[in-house]
């Protein structure tokens, strides 16, 4: 994990969440989703977050991924306290440090697979040739080198998710944030995608934090965390 602030304390934990509260205002009501949640995820871990709808899984994932900020409490990722970063700094931090994979892939339909993967690299100083090389490597890693010129609508769901994973990987982030990555896939394809995430975790050292409703998907993680009503219940070791 690269930290622009050299003075920040460096820990073995990739993610440190301390006494985090998160509330949303919905109409006239304020709804507290996370109630003083604390959590630590070591570097290189593969964690599955499980729990019923409304338990705060995605909210926690959004806070760890820097997509949202807590109402109170601390969120450190890679030693950097991201809950205090401004919108612009948080965007820069996300670009450098996090890869995102969503349930519905969220690819740009007007771009080819390789252009979708290249998108995050437009935020770097890499030359066009360097960008193309990086894109080719990650498409190879996810097994889609031969589909580089295809647009999302020309790909299967599993292939689209592989492109999304390649996009998440291309800037070489230390942590992958996956929100129901197999929720829209059949069992066999889901297992392939989860296997790929496992390879990225085990062989490439990526820390993976995954939200899932699927117990079989959670089995691919090294640790399962259960949330209920905005609080962590227990930790269970997976396969």
């Amino acid at each position: 994990m690269r930290s622009p602030h050299g003075s920040e304390p460096v820990s073995d934990a990739m993610v440190q969440v301390h006494n985090v509260h998160k509330s949303y205002v919905r109409g006239k009501q304020t709804v507290e989703v996370l109630h003083g949640l604390s959590l630590e995820i070591p570097k290189g871990d593969f964690v599955a977050l499980m729990g019923p709808s409304g338990s705060g899984k995605t909210t926690l994932l959004n806070l760890v991924g820097g997509l949202d900020t807590p109402t109170s409490g601390e969120v450190r990722v890679g030693g950097e306290r991201i809950d205090q970063l401004s919108g612009g700094r948080l965007a820069e931090w996300r670009a450098r440090n996090v890869g995102f994979v969503f349930q519905f892939y969220n690819l740009m339909p007007v771009l080819t697979a390789e252009a979708n993967v290249e998108l995050p690299l437009l935020l770097t100083n890499l030359s066009a040739a360097q960008r193309r090389k990086s894109v080719a490597i990650v498409l190879e890693v996810v097994g889609l080198a031969d589909r580089a010129r295809h647009k999302p609508k020309e790909l299967s769901g599993g292939q689209e998710q592989r492109v999304a994973i390649a996009r998440a990987l291309v800037s070489d982030p230390a942590i992958l944030i996956c929100d129901e990555p197999t929720g829209d896939l059949d069992r066999r394809t889901a297992d392939e995608i989860l296997g790929l995430l496992q390879v990225l975790n085990r062989e490439h050292g990526k820390t993976v934090v995954m939200v899932t409703h699927d117990p079989k998907a959670a089995e691919f993680a090294s640790r399962i965390l259960h949330l209920e009503k905005g609080q962590l219940l227990e930790q269970a070791a997976a396969a």
Binding site: N62, L67, A91, N106, M108, P109, V110, L111, P120, R167
Partner: protein, 385 residues
Amino acid sequence: MTRTGFVIANLWRKKTRTVLTLLSIVTAFLLFGLLQAVNVLFSAGADFVGATRLVTQARVSFTQSLPMRLLPQIESVPGVERVMWSQWFGGVWQENTQLIIQAVDPARLRDVYPEIVMPNAQWKAFESTRTGMVVGRNLANQYGWKIGQKVPIASNIFPQKDGSKAWTFDLVGIFDGKDEEWQRNTSGGWINFAYFDEANQFARGLAGVYIIRLSDPDAASGVAATIDDMFENSPDETKTQTERDFNIGFFKQIGDIGLIVRWILFAVFFTLLLVVGNTIAQSVRERIPELAILKTLGFKDGAVLGFVLAEAAALCVIGGLVGLAIATPLGVVITKASGGYLPLAVDAKVWLTGAIAVVVLSLAVGLLPALRAKRLTIVDALAGR
């Protein structure tokens, strides 16, 4: 891929919609180019540069006649080479076909308008035939008139002494123009002033306008000022201007052309604003999740705003350029087709105004959707809220 490539890819997301929107912008800027040229033409001040002929009319209106006694005084102004006068006759052919016929002195017409080409014998016949009439090639061809035939023409303005509106003229000549532009300008005709002056019921010794051929084009402004000063505070005050400005004055009779043009432009751009603004807004609404993903990947709010504004600007710039590019030669075509009476120049001034319009339009149609894109929060956008 580049950021520009990304903007272009998004523009072509829905090709039909983009093409139709572009067509509406092209049409609007085509109209803009031509109407702005009209606006410039009608709002421009007097321009004497390069003028070889001046037209002196009554200061109040060219529908007021001027007495013939002004002729020697006008002829005496230094810089004046030759003066002719003409009286508007109008004329109606058959049922209700309006003609442009004017009463002139044939010899003076020939001297003042060397661009009119007609065989010498026909000029002589025009001078010597009191009831003679010469018409342009276009007019003769239109009605199949031949030299030697009698042409019955009615006048709603000038009855004969016996009260009859019916006049009959002997067609003694058919004129052409010296070049293509003048050949297009052969849809009118001339009758002999001496006969008209004597035969009509009430207008005697009156000229509609004086047309002055200059010995020195550089003296145009001075000659015009001298003539108008000469008759200032007299019962027959004059207004002397170039032929071009006089011709434009005809169109100005319709009303305040500048104001009309501005209102048309306002209506065109207001409609365009709604059409393109709605297209851009719809385009942004359709891809809120995609814009949220851009932010998720690390693109800052300003970058997302920039993407949307760039799309709006690209549409407006392409449409504006194509529209003005079509308007430019079209202006030349209209100028030629009008025989120079309506000189529409889609020039640098019009292009500059067009460039400003493109910038204003881009901001007007793009800014609100771009700000919406900038302000959207990732979590809400991805959750479909």
